[in-house]
Chain length 271, copies 2
């Protein structure tokens, strides 16, 4: 079962465009607690999401114990819920191939996030498998996102050129997506207009505080899908007590409902 | 001892601007052979180089055994030869901090390569330690390097804007460098002109076949340094037989000498 099929299946089955980002900051979750913590989060939310997104940095920084926890985390995720490995890798040819093998074979992810700065031959090793996908950084919502991404290229910002390139890179198998932060709905709309059929991963909902209604109006595709709305800290750390899993479920349910309502309420001309 | 001091010390002691890239492709070196192979390469070349540059992808793809080999490799490198971890990471704030901890604390590298696409707040976590450095991708020599890096920004290509930004990011501690491929000496000269004091990591010598004389004339700083000339496969795989370490030493000696001669012969106006 390919990434796209798995994603649509989970989205329909769970009535959800919500992706829970598994971002276990070392100062929030001790390494000894990592496996039971993430298993509990997954068990509490896997019927409410369309995907899980482990952030590789927070595993990698813990060394061997972190990798062990990452493998255990992947094992705990139901097979019919896709895994997007947030790795933001990017390197030339044979090195990119090694990173793709790391993400898809060693970790067993269905998709991976990738940095586009090195261009097409650094991108394609992540796109050669029709059943796996890659999401390329396009427009990020961090303070430094403007430094390069908003630079003017022939009257258009760089991130729009990136969107065009990624759409082309993904044409053979339809498995290239984009990462667009939720902070700038106008920019999300511009990306969606250029890439009507490209899946968009939308981080920045929840702790980072984007505007959900405007983001969904701007980012949903013509069929009301094509958007993966990711929340991390607001779900994982909804409670710091022993009720953390229940609190995570409650927060995920609330986010799922808010996304459903926003999607239903979006302006008619967007349908 | 900080990165800059360690780099200058090794360069002077060994009379070398050569960096040996430790790129053990899985199809060239089996995991069981990885530690003795790399130890032999390091022992055979550590008095001929100014730095070693392990490529993290080729360790990471091997899982736990790869990380064990990476730690053993770092342990085998003399303390007074700096280690540049080729990781090309890039992520927002707290995630970048985790990657910096991975590179500097977990691995013990003196410097790390970083992708600039996410801007200053993704860059700064790699630059907060005065004794560690980060080299940012600027102009790469792979076929897709043009896709983004050559796009015209107000009459200048994007990679020159990146060079300007990185120079600013590194100002507090003087510890930001640039990665510029050896394939385009004119572009290297443009970067050096904009960033007279920024160290430049120059991959693409050896197997990738850049023009050494022109690269050195273009890239050396006013004091005849500031350039780290990296070769990987041509040294590691100089022989596929049991004499691989001797062959690696011979290749490294030849490269070191060629770099010395090119540096001595560069046009007077460059001094």
């Amino acid at each position: 079962m390919g990434f796209g099929e798995k994603l649509r299946g989970a989205a329909e089955r769970n009535g959800s465009l919500l992706c829970v980002g598994l971002d276990p900051h070392p100062d929030r979750v001790a390494t000894d607690d990592l496996i039971p913590f993430l298993r509990a989060i997954i068990d509490a939310t896997s019927d409410l999401v369309c995907a899980f997104k482990p952030q590789l940095a927070f595993f990698e920084v813990r060394g061997a114990a972190g990798w062990e926890a990452l493998h255990a985390t992947v094992d705990a995720i139901p097979r019919n819920v896709p895994i997007i490995l947030d790795a933001k890798r990017g390197d030339i040819g044979s090195t990119a191939t090694a990173y793709a093998e790391m993400a898809f074979d060693l970790v067993g992810a269905d998709a991976v996030t990738v940095n586009p700065y090195l261009g097409h031959d650094a991108a394609l090793p992540f796109l050669t498998r029709p059943d796996r996908a890659a999401f390329f950084l396009c427009r990020t919502s961090n303070p430094g996102g403007d430094d390069l991404q908003s630079l003017d290229i022939d009257g258009q910002p760089l991130y729009q050129r990136v969107a065009d390139l990624v759409r082309q890179w993904g044409e053979p198998h339809g498995n290239a997506g984009l990462v667009v932060g939720a902070t700038y709905p106008e920019e999300l709309a511009a990306v969606r207009q250029r890439c009507p059929d490209v899946p968009i991963l939308l981080p920045g909902i929840g702790a980072q505080g984007g505007d959900l209604d405007r983001s969904l109006a701007a980012g949903l595709d013509a069929r009301g899908g094509g958007l993966i709305v990711s929340a991390s800290r607001s779900v994982l750390f909804a409670s710091t007590g022993s009720d953390f899993a229940d609190a995570a479920r409650a927060e995920a349910e609330q986010l799922r409902r808010a996304i459903q309502q926003s999607a239903a309420a979006r302006p008619a001309q967007q349908h």
